[in-house]
Amino acid sequence: MRSRVQRLGLRSVVLAYLAVILVGPLGIVFYRTFEDGFGPAWDALTTPETIHAFKLTLIITAIAVPVNTVFGIVCGLAIVRRKFPGKGVLNAFIDLPLALSPVVVGLALFLLYGAEGWFGGWLDDHGIQVLFALPSMVIATIFVSLPFVAREVIPTLREIGDEQEQAARTLGASGWQTFWSITLPSIRWAVIYGVILTTARCLGEYGAVAVVSGRLQGQTETATLRVQERWESFDLAGAYAISIALATVAILVLVAMTVIRPREEAH
């Protein structure tokens, strides 16, 4: 009996904590947004600037996710299946974006690509605009969302081992054929999981992009930047509406992950 009481006690503490920290704020956002019905929220979402902000976020995500997916798989294969000098360093560096504040990443890009930066002069001479434009925002987003696919793929690659790949080789498959028909299908759930996490991170990126974008309304303003901008302009309804759109995507991501996780474990 006592253990049951303890278990229930533990459960209530965890649930109460989650309610205060997570569900409460999210609930408030939902409540405030739809306080006056769907109309104002919809209007706030469909202003040209906001639509542009969402489009920009999607474009950045559409570039960053495939890049990091390919990088993550290649990196995972290199770390798990190959021996090369500097492997330990690479393995450690993959986690750097997790440890580093995105603002620092943004500043670093500023130092590299700014007018005074290493590449700034050369880029300027060739008329290539990196800062305050899409390229720097994409680079910043790729950087902050870099570890997720690799971190999902690496343990799965370790777990499946390389016997199946060896078997494929002895059966006459080339390296490429082995990758497409054996390796990739074996790690597919890890890749999908990593892609979902990467997507969520890209959609929510704020700090690094805030630094490098210059936050030009209707030009380099992403959805998250738009929330901040609306807030500062005292357009709370607008800020709430965009937040809700982003939160909904986050919830969908969570649902997708919950559906996928058990499946992956079954394999």
């Binding site: 016997e163 199946q164 060896q166 078997a167 494929a168 080789r169 002895t170 059966l171 006459g172 498959a173 080339s174 054929q177 028909s181 054996i182 299908p185 074996s186 394999h267």
Partner: protein, 317 residues
């Protein structure tokens, strides 16, 4: 296709896995690489398959140097101890894999897979996934998959090592029969001397990365080239300065030249055979095996003092 291993060596850091091994495997034969675990036999097999690169030496397949050839170009079939089944593919897809990567026409693949499913008696399991098969079935699938592209050499790495004793004995027998039908040059790795004796034409005994002896089962048993081979292939025990097999001991009731005094401490009737355990005067344990008839004729009893006379013995420097 014949296999020639020429002066092959392989080390992993400080560990010498294969040490200057030369071996010839005749076309169409069934050869066992026999040795204790860690002796380098699996490494040698993997070198033949191209899954490991030797540090020195050559591998010739049908007389052609294959040392630098990638595994996918060697036309060998490889069977893994832990099956290495493609988990996301059905049994049919597993078996078809080698044909598919060779871009064979679909009807041909279909026909060949059916043929192999019959051969390995998995006709009713074609649409199952490996996870739905027993260990023995998985290994039969592994064998069918390896045989599908009609390899010129079949290599098996402890193929029955992960199976229980009954299935093991069954598959062993079945592999021998299969070899009589398919006649592909076969090399298999085992640490089980009985398994090696039972099905091979030729056995290569390996210890500490070195080739101790190559011969047919009878040669190895009757004329072991070293103390290791004598003790590893069959049983052997030291008596005086010699090694003697337990069924090569005569029990005498009176002393003669070269006989060792001992006392019977235990008698176990194993049906047709009788196991007699003895202690010599120094207290060392000695085992003698004899037939029931010999035992009854001798009229031996526990506690009896006897003299052990080796019928055949060997001494190694």
């Amino acid at each position: 296709m014949s296999i020639h291993v020429r002066n092959v060596s392989k080390r992993f850091r400080d560990f010498v896995a294969v040490d200057d091994v030369s071996l010839e495997v005749e076309s169409g034969s069934l050869t066992a690489l026999l040795g204790p675990s860690g002796s380098g036999k699996s490494t040698l097999l993997r070198i033949i398959a191209g899954l490991e690169t030797p540090d020195a030496g050559q591998i010739l397949l049908s007389g052609n140097d294959a040392t630098a050839l990638k595994p996918q170009k060697r036309n060998v079939g490889f069977v893994f101890q832990h099956y290495a089944a493609f988990k996301h593919m059905t049994v049919r897809e597993n078996i078809a894999f080698g044909l598919k990567v060779r871009k064979r026409p679909k009807p041909e693949i279909q026909q060949r897979v059916d043929e192999l499913l019959n051969l390995v008696q998995l006709q009713n399991f074609g649409d199952r996934y490996p996870a739905q098969l027993s260990g023995g079935q998985r290994q039969r699938m592994g064998l069918a998959r390896a045989l599908a592209p009609e390899p010129q050499v079949l290599l098996l790495d402890e193929p029955f090592g992960a199976l229980d004793a009954r299935v093991r004995a069954e598959l062993r027998e079945w592999l021998r029969q299969l070899h009589d039908v398919v006649h592909v040059t076969t090399v298999f790795v085992t640490h089980d001397q009985e398994e090696a004796m039972e099905i091979s034409d030729q056995i290569a005994v390996i210890n500490h990365g070195r080739l101790e002896q190559v011969g047919n089962p009878r040669e190895l048993y009757d004329e072991p080239a070293s103390e290791f081979v004598m003790t590893f292939v069959g049983d052997a025990q030291p008596i005086g300065n010699y090694l003697v097999r337990s069924h090569d001991l005569d029990l005498l009731t009176e002393p003669t030249d070269g006989a060792v005094e001992a006392m019977i401490v235990r008698v176990t009737i194993l049906g047709r055979d009788v196991k007699v355990e003895l202690h010599d005067t120094g207290g060392s344990e000695i085992l003698a095996l004899m037939t029931r008839d010999q035992f009854d004729e001798g009229g031996f009893w526990r506690g009896q003092q006897v003299w052990l006379h080796p019928k055949r013995e060997r001494a190694f420097a």
